[in-house]
């Protein structure tokens, strides 16, 4: 997923390089995955994730980052080792365990490396709600929720929920970013600078770190 990046496709040789494997064995794995409908594979051109594959990859990435937080914060494992440890663990833990760790850690927003942890796809409104519930109450849902920073300029979204400190959440909702409100992402600034959001005929500049924790249901570009 990382290798493919913006283009959406990764070449067999690139993947092989990255994994330190022979291209031939990588090709074999891809063919295998293509049969399961996780990737679309075209010989010589490369490989791209299908929607189903993307879902799974995102889920593993989420687990990976949560595990990194868990290893650093709770177990105090040294920073250098957490990535490799998390790489091994991410495939073996179930969703249930991943979510339990998430709850235990109070729904962390970022991994130790500073990368954003996406919210899970549970049928709950906010992380806050998840904290007090048990596993049976929250089953998988279908909402497509992304951080507002994932919207494209002039794309509309509906605020799903806010994550962050109490003060920040209070301020954002006082300024009109309340759940259920329609917002338009006006523009992003380079190098993860602030974004400009249009809400209720006013325009707000929001720092990137805060904006990453404003989650919206994306709609089409207006």
């Amino acid at each position: 997923m990382d290798i493919a990046g913006e283009k959406g496709t990764a070449k067999t040789s690139e993947v092989a390089n990255c994994l330190d494997n022979a291209p031939a064995s990588v090709t074999e794995v891809f063919q295998n995955m293509a049969q399961k409908g996780l990737v679309e594979y075209e010989p010589y051109k490369g490989v791209s994730l299908t929607d189903k594959g993307l879902e799974i990859a995102k889920n593993i990435k989420r687990k990976h980052r949560i595990l990194e937080v868990f290893l650093t914060k709770t177990l105090h494992i040294s920073c250098k080792k957490v990535h490799d440890e998390a790489c091994r663990m991410e495939h073996s833990i179930s969703d249930e365990v991943g979510d339990a760790i998430c709850r235990q850690l109070d729904a962390p927003a970022r991994c130790p490396g500073g990368k954003l942890i996406y919210p899970c796809d549970k049928r709950i409104k906010t992380c806050n709600e998840c904290k007090g519930t048990s596993e049976e109450e929250v089953s998988a849902g279908q909402r497509k929720i992304v951080p507002i920073t994932d919207l494209k300029p002039s794309q509309t979204g509906i605020i799903a929920f806010l994550r962050g400190g109490q003060k920040v959440i209070q301020r954002l909702s006082d300024l009109g970013l309340t759940p259920g409100t329609e917002v338009i992402l006006m523009r992003k600034t380079p190098m993860d600078g602030p974004i400009e959001v249009s809400v209720r005929r006013t325009s707000l500049a929001v720092g990137h770190d805060i904006a990453d924790n404003i989650f919206v249901e994306a709609a089409g570009a207006s």
Binding site: Q170, L175, G176, R201, T202, D209
Partner: protein
């Protein structure tokens, strides 16, 4: 209007000196200060960026024999406890009970403004809505049914364009009318889930009186407002427990903190009202959209920041130097040539005072005027917030965010208002960090020293180098201070105002207000200071002071002995260093008395060595004496250290 003296006495006001007290409240940057200026004729500084009014301003309006005191409250979005301003404003309105609250509303962003109006209604204040900026509203293709809005809110609604004075007399009439006959404010009903809980719970509060309306207290308890919770908890713990249970139920239903649930409900009501009274037509691409395409462009945007900030300084250099030369030529013939150090005391004093006057006119005024005019134009245009946005990422490294750029830029004018404007930062840590960095920004007084010493007698490039060096210092020290000062830092959340074409008359007024204080308060200081200095000089006291300091000034910094006294005077006002230098040597040709290295070192030390007296007092007021002295002591030590280093380094090749 007051044709029936027997009907009703004018409402009782808490202020003995005024018949009526009127408070202006509303969101940031909706034109409260413009309304204030129109009502009172007082020159409250106005500017197009949110958070400008930090202190509440007061002024008097005389109308049909009534003395009406007008109070301009800082702009806020809500009555939560997010900031000191919110807390102070709600306490003022609820507890000190002004006779009328004028809610200034930006008609072009009705929903967001009504969110605050609803909260004012809940505080049960007798109020009037001034629907301001209706010209901008029309520009955005919006129309509002004023009568309908008045009907729904149950309070008078007056459309205004404050900046042009439109609607102000109607507003005054309504103020008088309302004090004679108060209307009952309607109760704003929330959605079922919230409303049920308020109703269920408000009766419990019957006996509790903390000065606020009961329903409002009930809502605040549901929102888990920490101040109100503490107050009520001090009287009856069980009520707080009951409210917590209800708040938990709300949070369970909605999955959000109860305060967010209540805010969302309020916005829902505001949206509803707006939907009924407002018609929105097609909006063409506005000036703001077009300008922002350049101002916030990833490449052009940064170029523009550089051009505007650099242009501001260069403009001051060029225009200032021109006026300064002109004035010197004009005053040259009457200037005394030799300092009078003997003769009757009266002569000495007069001579000193006169020299101070001339030095003030030729060295200070020429640079202050062009700088303030340009700064006012930039402030008024709305561009400051765009600089904030563009530079946000960079300021994160200093533990700040983009908004801190505003105090820093204002600091180039005067550090005092710049320190006050640090209140736009959210946390105590960020306020203190920003204020510390502001004290390192060369204000106009220090600019005069840099220009007068370095640009004039070394080269303009060395003067610019000092500025660039200063910016590097600010970044480095900010980075270190960020690590050392404890506390939390919040990120950027800022409203982006619409641009408007800066008005020359507003800028001229602004410049006058700022220059006026300089002329009335500071100018006498030059004159008195000069007279005192010359007396000291004549009496032979200067040498003892200078000698006492010579270990630092001569030994470490390599400056002439006289600089000791200059740096002492400079604590009061930075430009006094250069004025006094002119008086002691009786020349403004400083190149003839000091070497280029000495000039640069003296300018460098003056730029950094201590915040001036007024700034120190402001810091003490805002943060306490401990912080103010820590900053001052650090600045002194650091400037002396740097000055000595610079002297040794520069001597190698100059």
């Amino acid at each position: 209007m007051r044709n029936c003296p027997s009907c009703q006495p004018p409402a009782k006001s808490f202020d003995k000196n005024a018949d009526l007290v009127v408070a202006l409240a509303g969101n940031a940057n909706v034109g409260k200060s413009a309304v204030f200026n129109q009502l009172t004729g007082v020159g409250q500084i106005i500017g197009n960026w949110p958070g400008k009014t930090v202190e509440r301003a007061e002024g008097m309006l005389k109308y049909e024999g009534l003395k009406i005191k007008i109070i301009d409250l800082p702009g806020i979005y809500s009555f939560s406890t997010y900031s000191m301003e919110e807390l102070v404003s709600r306490e003022f309105i609820a507890l000190e009970k002004p006779d009328i609250v004028v809610n200034v509303v930006d008609a072009s962003a009705l929903e967001r403004n009504l969110f605050f109006t609803i909260q004012l209604l809940e505080l049960d204040a007798p109020m009037i809505v001034a629907l301001n900026q209706i010209d901008l509203m029309e520009h955005k293709g919006i129309s509002i049914d004023y009568n309908k809005l008045e009907e729904i809110l149950g309070v008078p609604v007056v459309p205004t364009v404050a900046i042009k004075g439109k609607g102000i007399s109607e507003l005054t009439e309504q103020i008088i009318k309302l004090t004679e006959q108060r209307r009952a404010t309607p109760t704003i009903k929330y959605g079922k889930e919230v409303e049920q809980r308020i109703e269920q719970f408000a009766p419990l509060l019957g006996k509790i009186d903390i000065g606020y309306p009961t329903r409002w207290v009930a809502i605040k308890l549901l929102e888990k407002d920490n101040v109100i919770t503490r107050q009520v908890g001090g009287i009856d713990e069980t009520i707080v427990e009951a409210s917590e249970t209800l708040a938990k139920e709300l949070e369970k239903i909605h999955g959000e903190p109860s305060s967010v649930v209540v805010s969302a409900e309020r916005y829902h009501i505001a949206d509803e009202i707006a939907r009924i009274v407002q018609r929105v037509g097609v909006q063409e691409s506005t000036l703001t959209d077009k300008l922002d395409r350049i101002a916030l462009h990833p490449v052009l945007g940064y170029l523009m920041v550089l051009m505007v900030v650099g242009g501001l300084l260069i403009w001051t250099f060029i225009i200032g130097a021109k006026i300064s030369n002109l004035l010197s030529d004009l005053l040259g013939p009457i200037e005394q040539l030799e300092p009078v150090v003997s003769g009757p005391l009266g002569n000495i004093l007069w001579n000193g005072a006169f020299t101070g006057f001339v030095a003030g006119i030729t060295l200070v005024i020429p640079y202050v005027l062009p700088f303030y005019i340009m700064l006012a134009l930039i402030e008024d245009s709305g561009y400051l917030t765009r600089i904030s946005l563009m530079l946000d990422k960079g300021t994160h490294k200093l533990g700040l965010h983009g908004k801190a750029i505003i105090p820093l830029i204002l600091g180039y004018g005067c550090n005092v208002p710049a320190c006050y404007s640090c209140r736009i930062m959210e946390t105590p840590k960020q306020k203190l960090l920003a204020a510390f960095l502001v004290t390192l920004v060369p204000c106009i007084a220090r600019t005069i020293v840099i220009l007068g010493l370095v640009a004039a007698f070394v080269s303009i490039w060395w003067a610019l180098a000092l500025y660039v060096f200063d910016i590097i210092l600010i970044v480095l020290l900010g980075r270190i201070a960020f690590k050392l000062v404890p506390g939390e830092s919040l990120g950027l959340i800022m409203e982006m105002p619409n641009y408007h074409v800066p008005s020359l008359s507003v800028a001229a007024k602004q410049t006058w207000v700022r220059t006026k204080s300089l002329i009335w308060i500071v100018f006498p200081a030059y004159i008195v200071g000069s007279a005192v200095l010359q007396t000291f000089y004549a009496a032979g006291w200067l040498n003892s002071i200078n000698n006492a300091l010579s270990l630092i000034t001569v030994g470490w910094l390599g400056l002439p002995t006289v600089t000791g006294i200059l740096l002492i005077f400079g604590v009061a006002r930075k430009e006094l260093t250069i004025l006094m230098l002119a008086i002691i040597f009786h020349t403004t040709n400083f190149g003839s008395i000091m070497s280029p290295v000495q000039l640069i070192v003296l300018a460098l030390v003056t730029m950094l060595y201590i915040p001036c007296l007024a700034t120190i007092l402001t810091l003490a007021k805002e943060f306490g004496w401990k912080e103010a002295s820590a900053i001052s002591v650090f600045d002194v030590g650091f400037a002396i250290f740097l000055g000595g280093m610079a002297f040794r380094l520069l001597s190698l090749f100059m």
